[in-house]
């Protein structure tokens, strides 16, 4: 990897930068056509997850994306990208539709976590996340997950059970925030930088741990031209990955995803 001097904490700050490109920015640049569709058909339309149909060339996709706001107003509307249970139930609705119409699913992960609120608990946040992973685990179409910013905790993994997990070089993916980690493990929330180093939350660490399968490099300069480059590389990666997964029959697509997660976490036999 380039950028050797960048620390894990630097990457946390890059991933969290409010100016960092969001899911909709990538969607607009990667897909030739996109139609957003709303609602979980049960309670309401939670805007922390965006769902819809996307097309690259003549290939159709179902898109499920965690969306942070790009302005304060939008952030309030989108609950700062922290999904309520309805978001995951909306995601499940579109996963099932993807299966019905035989479209691959592309998910974009970018969240501080599932929203911790009274209503979220009343409406079964835990159940919603569990069900979303359950549906993904058995879905009969290819799934690609892309971690574009912050992938924090169960709220991220809820849409991360994919055949292939791609990660941007400066994105992070972790069990929770470094601040939370240091306060729980060391009873000292000020040691967050040290926690970031220990947690193995960078793309490189996660690739070595086999939690992710592919890193998309990010040029050093954060500008529009480089963003287009990243988006274009992602587009190529999505297209080639789908061709690769589609070589498998339906049963093997499910089994391939199962095996990937079944084998995470090496242990020692006594």
């Amino acid at each position: 990897m380039g950028n050797e001097k960048i620390t894990a904490w630097d990457r946390v700050e890059i991933a969290r930068n409010p100016k960092r490109k969001t899911a909709l920015d990538y969607i607009e640049n990667i897909f030739d056509e996109f139609i957003e569709l709303h609602g979980d058909r049960n309670f309401r339309d939670d805007k922390a997850i965006v769902c819809g149909l996307g097309r690259i060339g003549d290939k159709n996709f179902t898109i499920i994306a965690e969306q942070k706001g790009r302005t304060t107003k939008e952030n309030i509307e989108r609950n700062f990208g922290m999904p309520n249970p309805e978001s995951y139930r909306k995601a499940i609705r579109f996963m099932k539709q993807a299966e019905k119409f035989k479209r691959p699913v592309i998910t974009f992960i970018d969240t501080k976590g599932a929203y911790p609120g009274i209503g979220a608990e009343e409406r079964g946040q835990g159940e919603a996340i569990a069900k979303s992973m359950f549906e993904m685990a058995k879905l009969k179409v290819p799934i690609i997950a892309i971690v574009i910013g912050e992938g924090s905790s169960g709220g991220a993994l809820a849409i991360g059970v994919a055949n292939k997990v791609i990660m941007l070089e400066n994105a992070i993916y972790s069990i929770l925030s470094p601040e939370g980690y240091s306060s729980i493990l060391w009873k000292d929330s000020s040691r967050y930088k040290e926690a970031a180093e220990k947690m193995k939350l960078t793309a490189k660490d996660l690739y070595d741990l086999k939690v992710i399968d592919k890193i998309i490099k990010e040029p050093k300069e954060d500008n529009e031209e480089n963003f287009k480059k990243i988006a274009s590389n992602l587009k190529k990666e999505i297209s080639s990955t789908i061709i690769e997964i589609n070589k498998l029959n339906t049963e093997d697509i499910v089994q391939n995803r199962y095996d990937k997660f079944r084998n995470i976490g090496e242990f020692i036999k006594l």
């Binding site: 079964g124 169960g154 069990i175 947690m199």
Partner: protein, 285 residues
Amino acid sequence: MIVDKIKKRETTAKNKKANIDIPIGKWIKCDNCKEIIYKETVRNNLNICPNCGHYFRMHIGKRLELIIDEGTYERFDLNIETTNPLELEDYPKKLKSLREKTGLEEAVSCGIGNINGEKVVICIMDSGFLMGSMGIVVGEKITYSIEQAVKQKLPLIIFSVSGGARMQEGIISLMQMAKTTAALTKLDEAGLLYISVLTDPTYGGVTASFASLGDIILAEPKAMIGFAGQRVIEQTIGESLPEGFQTAEFLLEHGFIDKIVERRDLKDTLYRLIRFHKGGESNGQ
């Protein structure tokens, strides 16, 4: 995070030997009514306070005694250890001392046993081992148990008690949520019964994976169950939480569990539910 809160509640429980379900010493104070009670009386009362009915936590040995027919439990031969994926220096030492102190191998025990003669795969978590948190070993044991249930065509019962995913194993702990959940899809496709029993407390990554995916979900009275910890929610919303929030009764009211079952009725309830799912000629087709 919930772990802090649980730890606070845990300070009364300084277990020094295996299979001790309530604090040692001859007397204990009930967390709920504050009454000082003779320990033996509580032990002989299914770890329930004779004064106010408060449920003390139950460790694996006592839980097995309560649920599984005597002499029928066979633990799976799966002796494994974590690889310490975050390479934390003091973590292996901590595990070792916990194993010695508690006599437990890890935060879950899994095997096959009978409930009134009905054979089941059973997993029992234990709050005495790093607050029942799920790391590689717990994830692997639960997954292995689910696979054994599929292989041997047996019903699966999991007693959950957990603070969530295990911090010390970082992202790998998080991934155990996906692993256990994926295994449950195979049990589901095989048409086998899974009963999830939630006990106090069940939180975080365990609530957000296998604990919430039972065909039938039972809970012990007043058990605290949720995704986010109460302190985190209070800090996020900046107000205090309503009375009874995240209790088993609250979850029942909101439609997330099937039934609250008293400890003394658990074995019989499980037996009756298993009998309803034996299929074949017993189904009224």
